[in-house]
Amino acid sequence: MTTALANVSAFVLLLTITAYSVAGGVDYGVGIWDLLAGGGPKAVRARQLIDHAMAPVWEANNVWLVLAIVVCWTGFPLLFQSVFASLYPLFAVALLALILRGAFFAFRHVQTGPQAQRRTGVVFGISSVLAPFFFAAALGAIASGRVALGEPNISVWQACVNPTSISFGLVSLSATAFIGACFLIGDARRFGMPDMVEYFRRRALIATVVLIVIGTIAIIVLGLENRPLFDAMLTRLGTPFAAAAVILTPVVGFLLWRGIFRWYRLLSVAVVGSLVFAWGFGQAPYLLPGQLTIAQSAAPLGSEVLLSIVTLAVVVLVLPSLALLVYLDQRGALESPEA
């Protein structure tokens, strides 16, 4: 019973991480494009679009992160302790980036004039790069098997900085830029800004190529560095998701190249989701590869039951209200950013 519920909790944990990777990924990706926009009239328009597209969602995404944290410490206390004891530097940087980002996005709304907006935008952009990199690097460090049970048994820096963690970070960064650009195309179309559709189509295409290149490098690094996870991704539960990511990324690239604006957003979500699932299912049933399984780390029955109830409540209460919010957001689709 406890094991079954623990498996459910582990899946919920993976889902919240995936949801954050997608929703937060879009957000961070948008920030990356803001940073890369540079100057000039095109950049001003791009930032207008970015501002308008981000305003409704930016504060809500932390929710997924908080949910992942609470599921982790309630469902798998020992995992939580071990991960933070070994990887606190990564989380500290990601966290600082996260606050700076939120703060400077708000700050930009207070400031007027493209010059001032750009200055605050630089902090916003840089922190949009740091956060997804360091969060994903933490997942990579876990996957590399360097997180010890309880207290760290190697230097914290070795646990944090290694080929696997860096390649996870880079994949995350390119996937984030990729999904961000895809969603900006959608927003540009929604707000009737054809020049911006073209602007972000080209950037999304570049991001797709970068993602494929970095993804390939990451797979090679993984094969050299961490054979068990590499094998699991190719031969076990992770296989379908790894395959999905490998197939779907070029498909999105093709759609963007031909300017076919259908399915590309959903598929970009599927790409990011598959990447996270490939990692999660790849290392299952281990939470800490080689050291701690889901069953070993599971909290007592009561806590797992409560987590299931909370999960059910999220599904029953939150999803319909989220749908309503999205509906209200779309209903105002006619207003243009210049208004």
């Binding site: 809500a60 309630t74 206390p77 989380f91």
Partner: protein, 529 residues
């Protein structure tokens, strides 16, 4: 490198405690408005809809923007706090996460609901029919209450742990969900804090319009925006005094060392004096304080013979240090002092309103009212300092010490993170204040356009001239028949909110009682006993 190595040997306990205290103290500033402002906003919107008062709608709309700014910052600082449990206190969560974490899991749900419904509420102003908008908004206060009760469930577990069975090495081996969520302290911590944040929000909002009154803005808009939050807060203030008193008295049996610390009682004794102010020294002597003979004993048990627990009844290693006891004591006195000042202000308000049938018109009243908001904030912070410092040296009372929960990260790391956080939080404060000031300025410009004269423009908080705003056409309306009416409406709509809150509370209390009963029947060995 050499310096880092030197620091590396040092425990991160001190910087971790400072960082946690700093980030929590900051977050606590945002909590009242985050939880209670939606209720006040809905009250105002309700008045606007049912009395067809466009000014009330305008106020509600503006408050909802403040609510969103507030919530966004709270969401960020709250996320930081949840990560700090891992970065600073990994061993706490490793050992007690299964029990402590449950409250936070429910809070995660509540936080999610609030985030979404604030979005719906803001979007809905222009995209939903007024009544639908209002009804959807009604989801916000219960979500806030749910968040409050769940966070306090966690804090109560730290103060009066229960509902868990511990294994030989102290790890949690089984969890009784209801027993661990509804521990003894929750009943008083919940009411004490919930009422505190409703009072604080009422006073902080009202204080802004008290300042506006002092600067000469005295129209229907200002009266409405002042009187409604002030009335709610004023009605709750005396209640808080009673609930606070019950909370303090519960400590005598639940956490005697904390009670002894806040009363700076050295030896357990009857006829214990109540000491106001003063500092305890290492010999157990209290210096400089004002001592009221036997009053502490009377407060505990209504008789001077009642025995009050002393610090020395607990071994020195298991009770707050002298410095901690003094901090808890002075914080407690500050809270009680400010609470009493609040009651005095409340009495002044109701005497004027009930006998003169109008809002107070004394400048001194509005000066006091404009300080009430900041005063409530200080009281909330002081109360939180009392309960947290008073629990020392325990992170989970009698089960785990703060020093055993702290990270093994080098002190230098935590000091660095702390300094960066202080800088970033300062930036956030500047941004938030700039944003609020910009909004305020814009709203005043908008209001000024409707007014008859141009000089009002640019003046903070409305027209500086008293005559100009006294009889602005279109700003007095048939429905506006003075403060009594406003107060009556407040009470009617407030009663509705109260019913919702009471229903929730009854549900929670029954669950809590059920848990206790179950525990007794099953005879589960609770770790707290």
């Amino acid at each position: 490198m050499h310096v880092a190595a030197q620091f590396g040997a040092e425990s991160a306990l001190l910087p971790s405690r400072i960082q946690m205290a700093f980030t929590l103290a900051y977050h606590v500033i945002l909590v009242p408005l985050g939880v209670a402002l939606p209720a006040y906003t809905l009250l105002m919107e309700g008045i606007g809809i049912f009395k067809k008062d466009p000014a009330a709608i305008r106020i509600a709309r503006r408050w909802s923007v403040v609510m969103a700014v507030q919530f966004a910052i709270g969401a960020v600082t709250g996320t930081i706090l949840s990560f700090e449990f891992g970065i600073l206190w990994p061993k706490l969560m490793g050992r007690f996460g299964a029990a402590l974490g449950m409250g936070f899991a429910i809070e995660g749900l509540a936080f999610f609901l609030e985030a979404i419904f604030i979005g719906i509420y803001l979007y809905g102003w222009t995209r939903l029919r007024p009544r639908t908008h209002f009804l959807l908004g009604l989801a916000l206060p219960p979500a806030g209450v749910l968040g409050t009760v769940s966070v306090l469930a966690t804090n109560s577990f730290m103060n009066t742990p229960g509902g868990v069975t511990l294994g030989p090495s102290g790890q949690v081996v089984s969890v009784d969900v209801l027993g661990a969520l509804f521990t003894r302290a929750l009943s008083y911590e919940f009411w004490h804090f919930l009422i505190a944040i409703y009072i604080t929000t009422g006073f902080i909002v009202a204080s802004i319009y008290a300042v506006a009154w002092l600067r000469g803005r005295r129209d229907h808009y200002q009266r409405l925006a002042f009187a409604i939050p002030f009335t709610v807060a004023a009605l709750l203030t005396p209640v808080e005094l009673v609930v606070g008193d019950l909370s303090a008295r519960a400590l005598v049996s639940d956490q005697p060392a904390k009670f002894a610390a806040i009363e700076v009682t050295w030896k357990t004794r009857s006829h214990n004096p109540e000491v106001v102010g003063g500092l305890l020294d290492s010999s157990g002597q209290v210096n400089f304080g004002i001592s009221i003979p036997s009053f502490d004993s009377i407060l505990i048990g209504l008789s001077p013979d009642t025995v009050a627990p002393g610090l020395t009844s607990v071994p020195a290693t298991a009770r707050p240090t002298i410095a901690e006891a003094n901090i808890a004591h002075l914080a407690f006195d500050a809270m009680v002092g400010l609470g009493s000042a609040g009651v005095a202000l409340t009495v002044w308000y109701f005497v004027v309103v009930l006998y003169r049938r109008r809002l107070p018109q004394s400048r001194w009243f509005y000066r006091a009212a404009s300080l009430a908001g900041v005063g409530s904030y200080v009281a909330v912070e002081a109360g939180w300092v009392t309960t947290e410092v008073g629990r020392q040296p325990w992170i989970v009372y009698n089960l785990m010490r703060v020093s055993d929960a702290v990270t093994s990260a080098p002190a230098a790391f935590v000091w660095t993170m702390l300094s960066v956080l202080v800088a970033v939080y300062a930036v956030i404060a500047v941004i938030a204040l700039t944003l609020l000031r910009t909004l305020s300025a814009r709203w005043q410009r908008e209001d000024a356009i409707q007014g008859p004269t141009a000089p009002e423009q640019g003046a903070p908080y409305g027209p500086p001239s008293r005559i100009a705003s006294a009889a602005v056409p279109g700003q007095t309306r048939p429905g506006d028949s003075g403060p009594i009416h406003i107060i009556a409406t407040t009470i009617v709509l407030g009663a509705f909110g109260l019913v919702v809150a009471v229903v929730l509370a009854i549900v929670f209390s029954f669950i809590g009682l059920g848990a206790v009963a179950l525990r007794t029947i099953r005879g589960t060995r609770s770790s707290s006993s």
